[in-house]
């Protein structure tokens, strides 16, 4: 196995000096960060800072304009389409929406990666799927379809599917968003357990500070296309940079302005040109 050589390296993922733009908007302006093997790493920052984009760069769904994205010592942007699809077998990704295949049952969704990537006999696939579903507590829901599940259940099934092939790396895109407190607790616990039991390197992209801080070994705070702070959660809380403090304490105004850039409020109110605001525009 060529991977054994790479397993010796300390960092599972290395991102260095990556530049990426969407249209005219520059999302990353020379961002660099490392994800140590077997750790839980939180990537945090205000909405729209490109946290999800970062996951897509790691997964090779997007290519950077410049810079290095390395997973297990392999440079992702340089891989051919076929090599890329091979590398992805060792990655799991949990999408915010769950992204389950709506035409397949819960069971078949979890079985999907096993069926396409392995030659295992049906009864073994069945056992593996039941084990994965049991670990997210939804073995009883195996015959249901995604449309019949709640948001939290959807995400748990998606998690079972993401770990079906026992990946070495798992990426969570906003795993805590929109969950009720109980489901939230369940997901936090699951992420922690998966990391501890299977030693999966885990990346959590989130803006939920407390949940992420409670399980992450290392946190990067991203803003304006760069890493503005990093460290263990406790160190980060002590950091005196106003940007980080604003984010951690959830202050509405500060270095990151509350208002989207606009013309003067008074001028706009007094200038009764309604043409720009018509709902029929």
């Amino acid at each position: 196995m060529n991977n054994d050589v790479n397993n010796a390296t300390e960092d599972h993922i290395t991102i260095s000096d990556v530049v990426f733009s969407r249209g005219r908007r520059r999302i990353f302006d020379g961002i660099s960060l490392q994800v140590p093997r077997g750790k839980i790493v939180g990537i945090m920052g205000p909405s729209g800072t490109g946290k999800t984009t970062l996951l897509r760069l790691i997964g090779g769904q997007l290519r950077p304009e410049r810079g290095i994205v390395e997973v297990d010592g392999r440079r992702i942007p340089q891989l051919s389409r076929k090599e890329l699809f091979d590398v992805r077998k060792s990655m799991g990704m949990l999408f915010q929406s769950g992204a389950l295949f709506t035409d397949l049952s819960v069971f078949d969704n979890v079985a999907f990666p096993l069926r396409v990537h392995t030659d295992l006999p049906d009864d073994m696939i069945r056992d593996l799927v039941l084990i994965k579903l049991q670990s997210v507590g939804l073995r009883g829901a195996s015959e249901l379809f995604p449309g019949e599940l709640s948001g939290g259940m959807n995400r748990r099934v998606a998690l079972a599917r993401a770990i079906a092939l026992d990946p070495r790396l798992i990426m969570y895109d906003e795993p805590f968003a929109g969950l009720d407190p109980i489901a939230l607790g369940v997901v936090v616990q699951l992420i922690k357990t998966l990391n501890h039991v299977f030693g999966m390197t885990s990346i959590i992209v989130s803006h939920d500070i407390h949940e992420t801080a409670s399980i992450a070994d290392l946190i990067y705070v991203i803003s304006d296309g760069k890493v503005i702070g990093s460290g263990a959660p406790q160190e980060l809380f002590k950091e005196d940079s106003p940007r980080i403090q604003q984010f951690i304490k959830g202050l509405p105004d500060g270095p990151v302005p509350f208002h989207y850039p606009a013309t003067d409020f008074r001028d706009q109110l007094l200038n009764r040109d309604i043409s720009n605001h018509s709902v029929f525009r």
Binding site: Q61, M91, G92, Q96, A99, L100, F101, V116
Partner: protein
Amino acid sequence: MLANIRHLGQYGIDLLTALGRAGSIWWQAIWRRPRLANAHLVFRQIYQLGVLSVVITVLSGFSIGAVLALQGYNQLVNYGSESALGLGVALVLVMEIGPVVSGLLFAGRAGSAVTAEIGLMKATEQLSSMEMIGVDPLQRIVAPRLWAGFISMPILALMFSVVGIWGSSLIGVDWLGVYEGAFWSTMQDGVDFHSHVLKGIIKSVVFGLVVTWIAVYQGYEAEPSSEGISRATTRTVVHSSVAVLVLDFFLTLVMFNF
């Protein structure tokens, strides 16, 4: 003036980019060695796109055959040559109306469904998650649909023509009283497999390919929002209908030696 030229240039660039992307999707989905393991997906799509289009195709074929018989009889009977009704109807159906109208129906019934389905899969991140599982959606989602369109379309077109001919015989022979022997024998004499039927089949194969190609491209490139998907679905029907009609003209021009 300058702005107009710029817009024209932009339009040209956009068009070429779209053609290039559509070409690359097609290339990657079809020409990279089709996998036999995915055959069951092709069968499923043949059911979705082909079998489920049978009812509308058969009904339309019957109506058009019946109308052709009515109108054809009206004209032919003036010259006492109503016995040529069978020949006329069969040629028109097999060479032109069969492939073209079933192509248009296919675009409306199956093409729009393909675009909406793939567009929604994109909007709900199902395509992304498939990529991250290490499965290429071009192989798994797009390729089976392209193959299914390619296979189903000629069969639907033939069905259309056959049912149309049957419809015209019901009207022409059983109702209007054209002599049955003449109806069928002129058809048998005048319709040649190579010079008529085969050319109709070739047309329908091309239409099947083009319609599904447009449909998967529009779905795959749809803006992932409700508005984007509705626009993509509309575009599929409009583009593929126009493509069928324009291609029909050129195929006729080339194949029938004008």
